[in-house]
């Protein structure tokens, strides 16, 4: 189980290859990549800054992976989340889960994203034509996480 919070971009193919390597009991890998959209709530986004709480972020993400491991029969899981300055179409986050069968991989991957969205201390600030603004939390993200409770 791996958690990384970093400024640098990540290479999806290389990360998934590392996750697969050395375990031919893996039958399924579900992954998710989140990207910066150029349009959010009807405003053009020129740039985005991601702030986090160093220490707590890594701890929160590790706990989310641990919960996923307890709930589903998964083999390994990975979260990489970027911080700092990002542009539209840049990668923000990667979540990947390996397991023997696809059901566990899909469920755990979606679970991790839902928890990350509502429990991991990251904050987005957007630069739009109308100036800079902190992104508001979405009610829909809280609704999404409630289905796992």
């Amino acid at each position: 189980m791996t958690v990384r919070v970093q400024n640098e971009d990540f290479d999806l193919g290389a990360e998934i290859l590392k996750l697969r390597q050395g375990n031919s009991g893996i039958g399924a890998i579900a992954s998710f990549v989140g990207l910066v959209r150029d349009l959010n709530e009807n405003a053009r986004v020129a740039e985005m800054t991601l702030e986090h709480y160093p220490g707590m972020t890594e701890k929160a993400l590790a706990e989310i992976l641990e919960q996923a491991k307890q709930r589903w029969s998964i083999i390994d899981a990975l979260v990489i989340h970027r911080v700092g300055s990002l542009k539209p179409a840049d990668q923000i986050v990667l979540v990947a889960v390996s397991s023997a069968h696809r059901g566990a991989a899909f469920a755990a991957c979606e679970f991790i994203m839902d928890y990350l969205k509502t429990r991991a201390p990251f904050w987005k600030k957007e630069q739009t034509e109308a100036g800079a603004r902190w992104v508001d939390a979405h009610e829909s993200d809280e609704t999404a996480v409630q289905r796992w409770v």
């Binding site: 989140g34 991601l50 702030e51 986090h52 709480y53 220490g55 707590m56 701890k59 929160a60 989340h81 923000i92 986050v93 994203m113 990350l116 969205k117 509502t118 429990r119 991991a120 201390p121 990251f122 904050w123 987005k124 600030k125 902190w134 992104v135 508001d136 939390a137 979405h138």
Partner: protein, 84 residues
């Protein structure tokens, strides 16, 4: 002495990202700490108003208003998270 951390909009509104504070003896939990900070007025009163959805972490764990606050704790205030 406790360490206070502020993130995102709160950090910008308060103009500081961290401070060492010495709250009075009646500050025993997250609720009384928040109330004490609110009494600073201005941005503090506004951002920490009860209507605002402020989140608090004590020693890097999410904490409710009843969570005890002890000497040496690291206590963070921030808006609902928006990562991912």
């Amino acid at each position: 002495m406790i360490t206070l951390l502020y993130f995102a909009r709160l950090r910008e509104s308060f103009g500081i990202s961290s401070e060492q504070a010495h709250p009075p003896a009646h500050v025993v939990d997250v609720r009384s700490l928040t109330e004490w900070l609110r009494q600073r007025g201005g941005a503090w009163q506004e951002e920490l108003a009860q209507s605002r959805p402020v989140r608090v972490a004590v020693n890097q764990d999410m904490a409710g208003p009843d969570r005890a606050v002890c000497d040496g704790d690291e206590i963070a205030f921030f808006p609902p998270v928006t990562g991912g």
